[in-house]
Amino acid sequence: MIAEPSRLDQTTTIGKSEPRKDGPAKAAGLALYVSDISMPGVCYGAVLRSPHHHARILSIATSAAQALPGVTAVITAWDIPGKRIHGPLVQDQPALAWEVVRHMGEPVALVVAEDKTSAEKGLAAIQVEYEPLEAVFDACQALQPGAPLVHPSGNLLTEYDVSSGDLRSGFAQSEIILEETFQTPRISPAYLEAESALGYFDEEDRLTVVVSSQKPFDDRQHIAETLKLPIEEVRVKSAVVGGAFGGKEDSELHILAGLATWLTKRPVRLVNTRWESFLAHPKRHPATLHYKLGARADGTLLALEAVIHMDTGAYASYGPAVGSLLTEMVQGAYRIPNMRVITRVVYTNSPYSGAMRGFGSPQAHFATESMLDILAARLKMDPLELRRKNILQPEDHFFTRVQVGETAKSLPLILEQASAARERLRQSTPAAGRLSGVGLALSLQSMGLGHRVPDDSTNRLEWSPDGRLVIYIGAPELGQGMQTAVEQIAAETLGIPYQAVETIDVDSLVSPNGGVTCASRMTYLVGNSVILAARKLVDETLLYAAQKLNLPLEQLAYDKGMVRLPDGQQMAVSEFSGRAAEEGLILGASAMFSFPYPAERTPGHLPIGMPHIMHAFGANVVRVEVDPELGTVLVKEMVAIHDVGRVINRASVEGQVEGGAVMAIGYALTEAMQLKEGQRWVDSFTEYLIPTALDIPDKIETILLELPEISGPFGVKGIAEMGLVPVAPAIANAVFDAVGVRATELPIRPEIIAFSQPTLS
């Protein structure tokens, strides 16, 4: 008997904070990240990067570098056997630039050397002649006539224009119309492990690249195309990944490691330094969001028009998809009958932007949730009551025309919790000289990649000869705890202990393609795939048992790791898997699960990737203390409320919420990757301030609601991004509550507060 995922009671491991199995190795310092893997004779790879924001390359002279002792090879675009241009959605990014560099830090050449010192000497000896070109760093400016062209096709990469209802009549009926422009900064994922890759030839002389990546199978494709090799001749393996947050969905460094290894026939390791990670890997898009909001005097929302410009930098990366999700998330948790959102994703000469935790949602939420508080202040309404009046109901439709559905039932519960939390936080008194403020924001976040984007995952289960369950997972663990959750789902489904399950990291030689680890979808997607595979595995096991025992299949049953015989006797699965192993057989099964996009829920009038149909709502309530003279903000207390469908592993879910919340404190208060005096980008932790242990709230309370998603394994929705999404606007709203200053720009720097006149009405 297999556990029925829809049965939410009587679970054994689901819901428990099982300790992650990679924990002991990580705590002991024994987990092997790409930079830790020992490899005899490994060469040191280093990338020569553009010192210009925009320049034509006139010549690249490598012979002096090539002649240096210890330098094995100097590689330029001309050495690439296959495709010289790559990109996850738009093929626009050279693996190595040869004609034009479009952002500071762009790779121009690759040095492979015996050691670091030789590699550095090699880099210094390469002579590149550049003709600097005029550069543009702002999305709006890049669309002006006469702006420097980043790509010959023009600076407008993608434009979305999505609407519903009748905007004109919506504004005509409005008794109050507000307009505001919001600005959000360029954010680095700033995972502690910078991007890295290690290429070598395996025991069968096959090119193998070990990656720190969210998508090893796509990396494999890009490497094969660059080298003009059949895909089977490239093997990709996942090392332990030191954080990703969307920033490890680009293949740039993995391609270079494959290229260097292939051309030199030597093992080569490439590890980005911190400044390279800042300059040459994707960022969260800076955005300018202009909102016009119309409402009745009683607070009923009637119309919203948003015009948004996103700076995708020099290359598209996931920009078009981020723009699409940002567009969808503008609506937030609210019923707005007349809407139009125009989003332009624009090329500039900034470092490129791409996927990062929230995927457009943090920008949209900062604007929408700030706008609601601005409206509440103008109408002298309680911001929470304004929200309560306008929340989506299950029968409502998003402006993408997707019905909201059952998930909206969480919203009244979320508001109830938020209201109680706000009362609690209001009881606290601030330290002397500081003013206390409490703010809140709701959140909407989707799960999955969106309609008409391949959105599936294949994973494999096997019984080991001694009866343990082995998961050949098809997508990498990034640190978030997906593997643990999937192991718990597998254990619960098959009725075996969590300790009896183990997971094999991605290796294209043995693992199925489980898709990209992203989009708050993995516990749902891989979990569902594993449940399907478990059913097939049980069938396979019983079939084998029937053959071996010479009994009719229908007289055998599976129960909790045992095969039950007609006489009531039970035999452990290991008796069969062990015997199969002796015969050279493996009892195993693979299954693919595809994210469902039922036709009746997926309107066809939208661009590819729209709409998303699975959503979860949440809220964040924060108390800040502001020093009105210095303008400094301390986030003192926080309550995070999220509907996760079902908690699989409580500690992991809390970890996602707490980690996302603290990351968002950086987004709200300190982080911005800016251009300093027009010359160079902020590119170190000294200038780019991510929160330390001293910047966290005294208390983060996580309240988890569990309104099951009917299609989810054991009811799961998702959690990886939601914890972050509402936090920055909640902080901005709390700052307004404390000192009456409305920050329309992130981060909320002290000078914004100290030099502002309060706008308390």
Binding site: A28, S38, A651, I696
Partner: protein, 158 residues
């Protein structure tokens, strides 16, 4: 070249090395102690290479090999014994204080140093002690809880 003698996790090593090397390079590349991480490029910003040098918490990337001459180093590899993790390491695992794990060795050593000098720290003292160790995954909250749990376990031992 320079010959440096130092004790690492109880074993004495004598190594010929370039004088411009840092203790981080020596530990990671000469001695293979890859639990000592590099996350900021060797400029002392992140705390991932935290080790104990004669019982003092240091960023190994800011110590030149010559400065380690004759001294005693403890890395994360020196905390557990053969059979089991140190109670602080165990507490980090149990509390869910580890996600990607890249900052974990440094954070655990910072917690070790704290509890050595102050067996019963309050939340603020723990946060102060961990403030030199950047973490991007956990939001530090479960690390603070882990240090409290370890504190209880360690005081039972006494």
């Amino acid at each position: 070249m320079l010959t440096v003698g130092l004790t690492v996790n109880g074993s004495f090593f004598q190594i010929r090395t370039a004088p411009e090397k840092t203790l981080l390079d020596l530990l990671r590349y000469d001695l293979g102690m890859t639990g000592v991480k590099d996350a900021c490029g060797g400029v002392g910003e992140c705390g991932a290479c935290t080790v104990l040098l004669d019982g003092k918490l240091v960023n190994a990337c800011l110590v030149l090999v010559g400065q380690a001459e004759g001294r005693e180093v403890v890395t994360i590899e020196g905390l557990a014994d053969e059979a089991s993790l140190h109670p602080i390491q165990h507490a980090f695992v149990e509390a869910g204080a580890i996600q990607c794990g890249f900052c974990t060795p440094g954070a655990i050593l910072a917690a070790y140093d704290l509890l050595y000098h102050n067996p019963h720290p309050d939340d603020n003292q723990i946060r102060e002690a961990l403030s030199g160790n950047l973490c991007r995954c956990t939001g530090y909250t479960k690390m603070v809880a882990a240090v409290h749990n370890a504190e209880k376990e360690l005081s039972h031992d006494c």
